[in-house]
């Protein structure tokens, strides 16, 4: 009895510890949020800075409410979402194709992979003038730029994943005399699903940023365009509000993709 009591106490102690840690973590998080909110509000009301630069949290909250009731916001959100979706679809498809080519063949990898590797971290937005010349000022240029951003991440991730595939699986496929198409669909893609999905998730992030930035540069629709319109009106609460909404929407998109792909941040 005493032993079982000890076990129960030990178990309870073991269970209580993570709970108390979680509580402590939550308390710290709430404290940080409160400190930032109170400091922000105090700074806003102090008159130390120009009031429009640091608007009251209440006015930002009201602006968010107002933005969420505007039909124009949903129309622009739809355009941006469509651009990101198409960028991701095109960039990922090309990236997976090129990644498989580079990852499955040593010769191709030595010949071409370093070009993809070193072009991947360059600032993609600088290609925007070229995309405008090729695809015009409409959404096609944003989609092309988003696809270009997404392509490198997915290609490198797929190539890396391809090299990690268990050689036994490849030999099994070959012993069954699978065609290249069958090898791709039945062996390679299922075996490297995690790196490919991780690449797509990272590609989503880069495509989102690139499409939105391109919209801020030259566009007449989309959330990036809306941000620049609000900026030109100097409507600071709405600017803060819209940026918060964009961050939240991007975060939700990333979270959904994380759930779908089964990967975490």
């Amino acid at each position: 009895m005493a032993a079982s009591g000890e076990i129960r106490t030990a178990t309870m102690g073991f269970r209580a510890k993570p709970n108390s840690m979680a509580r402590q973590t939550n308390i710290i998080r709430i404290a940080i949020v409160l400190i930032i909110a109170v400091s922000w509000e105090a700074l806003s009301r102090s008159g130390l800075v120009f009031k429009d630069v640091v608007p009251s949290l209440f006015s930002i909250g009201a602006a968010i409410g107002k933005l969420l009731t505007l039909p124009a916001f949903y129309a622009n959100l739809q355009v941006t979402a469509w651009e990101i979706f198409l960028s991701l679809a095109i960039g990922s498809s090309l990236g997976i194709f090129v990644g498989i080519l580079l990852g499955s063949n040593r010769f191709m990898s030595f010949a071409y992979e370093h070009y993809v590797y070193y072009l991947a971290p360059t600032p993609r937005i600088i290609f925007f003038p070229v995309m405008i010349m090729w695809f015009g000022v409409g959404i096609a240029s944003k989609i092309a730029l988003g696809a270009l951003s997404c392509f490198f991440t997915v290609a490198l991730s797929t190539a890396g994943g391809m090299r990690e595939i268990d050689k036994v699986l490849i030999r099994v496929g070959k012993s069954f005399r699978a065609t290249p198409m069958q090898m791709g669909l039945k062996i390679y893609l299922p075996a490297m699903r995690v790196p490919v999905l991780n690449g797509i998730r990272l590609g989503f992030g880069t495509a989102t940023v690139t499409c939105l930035l391109a919209e801020t540069k030259l566009s007449n629709q989309g959330l990036g365009y809306m941000i620049m319109q609000i900026y030109s009106r100097f409507d600071m609460p709405s600017l803060y509000g819209l940026l918060i909404i964009v961050f939240v929407v991007a975060g939700i998109g990333n979270l959904i993709l994380g759930k779908v792909t089964g990967t975490s941040a």
Binding site: T25, N26, Y115, Y118, P121, T122, P123, P129, L243, G251
Partner: protein, 254 residues
Amino acid sequence: MGKLLNSRAFAISTGVFTVVGVFVLLEVLLRIGAINKYIVPLPSQVIMSLERIIFEENIMSRVAETAYEMSVSCAAVIVIGVPIGAVLYKWVALRRAVLDWVAAMAAAPLVLAFPLFLVMFGRSSTTIIVMSVITGLAPIIIKTTEGLLAVRPVLINVGKSLKLTQQQMFWKILLPAAMPTIFSGIRLSWTFVLISVVGIEFLINLGGLGQLINDLAERYDLPGTYASIGFVIVVSVIFFVLLERVETWLRPVK
């Protein structure tokens, strides 16, 4: 034939010849009118325009301007990021509370907030620097914490047995042992900083290399635009190669 295909030098040469071949093909297609010259300039014109860009567009002063913004941002990222990472390593509860937020910050489209910083700091280098520092902070914080947490317990025990003070322990044991991981964070952060500096220069049409591309594109100087994009790519690649070399040099031999 099999041996030749396995040769690394042959593969690399093939890659170089493919790139050269693409440019030659493009030149031919443009000259015979298969591709519109008003959309894609002749590669030979692009190469010729490099000289004009270097001498007429003051490329050296533009490189210096971008380099200045980069240097200040990169230094600030280390000065701010490494201590924050060290604090998160030391304070477990705070680490649990905020590390997820820092990771979310790394994935957030922070650079989109540039209009906000334009209002705060005006159309100046300060906007570019502040924005770039914010964009580059997350990786260095995460990697510093990760590096310090991964220091082998035996090293810490050696420090304890020598009765080192907390400061000595940090400077003599923890920091040197975590340096390779911290440098991985520095490399990632500086990559973010470079993308942000050139990107914002391009977007707000101010500063060095980013503005050059924007200027030439607005003048519809096609060869110049392509040449300047190529120049920025070359500068970026040199920067990444150098960073990689330093990282490899710092990595412990296994």
